[in-house]
């Protein structure tokens, strides 16, 4: 019956499908749906840039306008992957330029981006509108200058936590006077100076600017002038908030803030004088998102005073300087809280207080809508986790990291198996889990049995034997990404169900018990997997035999075979 629908109608219906999963599902129905879908797809998400080649992508989706690419494995964030492992965006941009793709939006995560790539991007895609780079590196402010100069319709330039080389050029001044289209500009991660006058002028002429996040080089007085020009801002990232609170400038900022009634998201405070913070209390009332995790200069008391004003908060990112007491205040103030991230502040053992299981329990008791948490803490207990599981059964993401990766229950000295077991049992919608602390195979038994929706799992220093890993591989049917470090899982676990890996995006194992021989076996039996071994030591190839334990292994499913850009230290087996 549906075959009699003209394709235009099908296409129109498909337009309402925005999730790429829905679109993927739809394209599997029949050949004509596949064809209609592929010509109408504009947004493509590629979770692992090595799963497919740019040419094949363009062949299937010629009308692609927005591309999201992810490169390095997640553990690259923690220095476990060598810098030049791969994940280059250049071939993608080149192919799309050659094929005349009308690219408008590019979102990259953990990829290597060069100035040359940015230059290509800026010059070959006349309708380019949006560039979002997260945890990327390899480029400099020259690349940004190219984007600023040439992208006439640029709406979004969002740079999150990238390593950008500062070439001291005036990249911000490269936005021509004719550029009035900016809606979102985020350069908070930039280390160098920016031309303040250019910034102010840019903000003044971009009347649609909704989101502005500046870096530490933008001082309070410049901010004040900027806010005067852009009271319509919805998202503000403050650079430097340092001033004498008894000054004229400070008063101006205070009044300026009062006019910014639309701001619902606040971040930054990269440099801060805590006594200036009261100036932002007026906007706190409207805030739904607050990120103070880049502000080690705000101590617990000031933090708490600020948060007391934020009763609409849905998303909060802080450092653990907030302390358990501070979290208690969050619990009683922020009843709408859905996402909480608490990052460690004391990385040098200077003796700053951290948070413990008490803070977590308090939050779970007060913030019943909580569904996503990332919590770095000094200690944890099973009792606390069980309580949290009871209070908040809606967790989608639950990530815990104890300072000591193998810390047992701080009270009973038992493994934390029961605590995490309670979490997976209670949170039936759990999609992402990171565990830490002393853990035996038992916790994995629980995961396999209960974590049926789990898609991503991070394991470190946990488990006793292969059984642990097997419980997970067998039980977690929706598992997509599994990353394991420093755990005693070996060949038996790796090879038990090789077909499983084709249902997953990737598997990372480092400092485990897996040998080279087993990796070779796997690679041989599963041609649609790339099994990469990262070998950083200076060993000669001859001395490496199959019984040798592999330091780092990363495997992922792919339709295009071994990649050609692997560096010397990466062996694709």
């Amino acid at each position: 019956m549906l075959n009699y629908f003209p394709e235009e109608v099908l296409e129109h219906v498909f337009d309402f499908l925005t999730s790429h999963r829905d679109r993927n599902a739809v394209s599997l129905v029949c050949k004509s749906w596949y064809a209609v879908e592929r010509f109408s797809r504009e947004k493509v998400f590629i979770g692992n840039c090595y799963t497919i080649s740019p040419e094949r992508l363009i062949a299937r989706f010629p009308r692609v306008r927005s591309l999201t690419l992810k490169g390095k494995p997640h553990f690259a964030d923690f220095n476990l992957v060598p810098h030049d492992w791969g994940g280059y965006v250049q071939p993608w941009i080149e192919s799309m330029a050659k094929a005349g793709v009308n690219l408008e939006e590019l979102r990259l995560k953990r990829m290597l981006v060069s100035d040359e790539s940015l230059d290509l991007l800026a010059n070959f895609f006349p309708n380019f509108k949006s560039l979002v780079l997260v945890s990327c590196d390899g480029f400099s402010t020259d690349g940004l200058a190219a984007i600023a100069s040439n992208c006439r319709f640029l709406r979004e330039l969002d740079l999150q936590e990238n390593e950008i080389e500062d070439r001291r050029g005036q990249w911000l001044s490269c936005f021509p006077d004719s550029c009035t289209s900016l809606v979102s500009l985020n350069f908070a991660c930039l280390k160098g100076e920016v031309n303040l006058l250019s910034l102010e002028r840019l903000v003044a002429r971009c009347r649609n600017l909704r989101s502005l996040r500046v870096n530490h080089a933008v001082p309070l007085d410049a901010l004040q002038r900027i806010l005067a020009q852009a009271p319509q801002l919805v998202d503000l990232g403050i650079g430097s908030f340092v001033h004498d609170p008894d000054s004229e400038i400070y008063n101006k900022i205070e009044t300026g803030m009062q006019k910014c009634t639309s701001i619902t998201s606040l971040s930054g405070f990269l440099d801060v004088t805590a006594r200036c913070l009261p100036a932002v209390y007026t906007i706190c009332r409207h805030l739904t998102s607050l990120n103070l995790s880049y502000a080690p200069g705000i101590y617990s008391d000031e933090l708490v005073k600020l948060i007391c004003h934020c009763n609409k908060l849905e998303r909060l990112l802080v450092l653990d300087t907030i302390g358990d007491k501070g979290l208690g205040v969050v619990a009683s103030t922020c009843k709408e809280l859905q996402e909480l991230r608490v990052f460690p502040s004391d990385l040098y053992g200077v003796g700053n207080a951290a948070v413990t299981e008490e803070g977590l329990v308090a939050i779970s008791a007060g913030c019943r809508k909580l569904n996503s948490i990332l919590y770095f803490c000094e200690q944890m207990t099973n009792a606390a986790l069980i309580m949290v599981a009871k209070n908040c059964p809606n967790f989608i993401r639950f990530r815990l990291a104890t300072f000591n990766p193998t810390a047992p229950d701080a009270v009973t000295m038992q493994p934390l198996d029961e605590g995490f077991g309670a979490i997976v049992k209670s949170c039936k919608g759990l999609k992402r889990l990171s565990v830490s602390g002393l853990l035996t195979d038992q916790v994995f038994l629980y995961m396999g049995r209960y974590a049926k929706q789990l898609e991503m799992l991070s394991i470190a220093f946990a488990g006793d034997s292969d059984k642990g890993m097997l419980y997970v591989l067998n039980g977690c049917k929706k598992l997509k990404k599994l990353e394991i470090r420093d755990s005693p899982f070996g060949n038996a676990a790796l090879l038990a169900d090789m077909g499983k890996y084709e249902t997953m995006r990737s598997l990372w194992m480092s400092s485990c018990e897996v040998t080279l021989g087993a990796c070779k076996t796997l690679a041989q039996k599963m041609p649609r997997l790339n099994v990469e071994v990262i070998n950083e030591s200076d060993q000669m190839e001859a001395s490496v035999d199959d019984k040798h334990k592999v330091e780092k292994m990363y495997l992922y499913r792919t339709l295009v075979g071994p990649r050609k850009d692997a560096p010397d230290f990466v062996w694709t087996l």
Binding site: D271, D301, L347, D486
Partner: protein, 310 residues
């Protein structure tokens, strides 16, 4: 004794780092009675549980604290006398990582002075509370799992120099060098009650509160004496005599040292670790103890012993 071989050469270097008063460091002369060679006694060795603990023979009843070195979570006093908690272990909750209970053969054998075991490049190094004279113990690579971007932030790397948030403790783990943002000197003003002219003192020149205290004494002793000379009611002091300014830190002296922190609050000097103090202090003041009400009933003991090295 299984599998040990060590050169003499390495041994003294390592042991120089270890405070001599700890039990398991054997002083050569007194304890040769066990018939062990010099080398064996001085050997530091950690192995899997049930491994050969040479220390057992040397140090009798102190076994427990020795065994606790690096592997067992415990709360014995012997192992946790540090006054400056290292990042991944806290007093009274001494759980060192990675715990050896796992079957994975990740034993770390510290054989004498093999630097490898102590180098930051090594993934699994037991954290020692006893060797506090060493620089910051090597953390596990990639733990805690936070992005380098954040690590550099906590280090003050991406913020300007004037930020109050800088920590002065050097880090060894990161490839990014934070050095360019650390000032070589940190001058703060210091004023003293009764002395109209203030001084400036470079906090980087000191590494402890004691040194600061004696510097204050040096700076102001003469000035104070000169003041009381010229004051109309100070008759008792003789012209030449300069009184030593002491007891600045424990409330016992005529004067007490306070400071103004980055939030503008006046705080008593000595409560926080030295490095944290340096990063938050904005100016110093030397006040008359009689003007500080809390000192009249004796000050509360600080978190740290001020005589201990930090």
């Amino acid at each position: 004794m299984e599998g040990y071989s060590r050169k003499d050469v390495g041994c003294p270097q390592l042991l120089d780092l270890i405070p001599k008063e700890k039990e398991w460091l054997v002083k050569s002369a007194e304890e040769t009675n066990h018939g062990l060679s010099e080398e064996k006694k001085l050997e530091l060795r950690l192995g899997p549980p049930g491994g050969d603990w040479t220390f057992k023979q040397i140090n009798g009843p102190k076994n427990e604290s020795l065994l606790s070195f690096g592997f067992f979570p415990n709360t014995t006093a012997g192992a946790t006398t540090t006054s400056a908690p290292t990042p991944w272990q806290h007093q009274a909750k001494a759980s060192f990582f990675p715990l050896m209970e796992k079957k994975s053969c990740r034993t770390v054998e510290l054989q004498g002075a093999e630097k490898k075991a102590f180098s930051p490049a090594n993934k699994a190094v037991p954290n020692s509370s006893n060797a506090q004279k060493r620089t910051a113990p090597a953390p596990v690579v990639g733990w805690p799992p936070i992005r380098s971007f954040r690590k550099n932030l906590a280090n003050g790397n991406s913020s300007k120099l004037s930020s109050e948030s800088q920590s002065v403790v050097p880090d060894k783990d990161f490839s990014k060098k934070p050095i360019e943002n650390c000032p070589k000197s940190r001058f703060v003003k210091i004023n003293m009650d009764g002395v109209p002219i203030g001084r400036k003192v470079d906090l980087k020149a000191f590494n402890s509160y004691e040194k600061l205290s004696s510097a204050v004494d040096e700076l102001f002793r003469g000035l104070l004496a000169a003041q009381s000379d010229s004051s109309t009611n100070g008759i008792e002091n003789e012209l030449e005599e300069e009184k030593v300014i002491s007891g600045l830190l424990n409330g016992s002296g005529e004067y007490t040292l306070v400071y103004e922190d980055n939030e503008g609050d006046r705080m008593l000097v000595g409560d926080v670790p030295w490095d944290m103090f340096v990063s938050t202090v904005k100016r110093l003041r030397v006040l008359k103890s009689s003007e500080l009400p809390m000192l009249s009933c004796g000050s509360k003991p600080g978190k740290l012993s001020l005589d201990g090295s930090i």
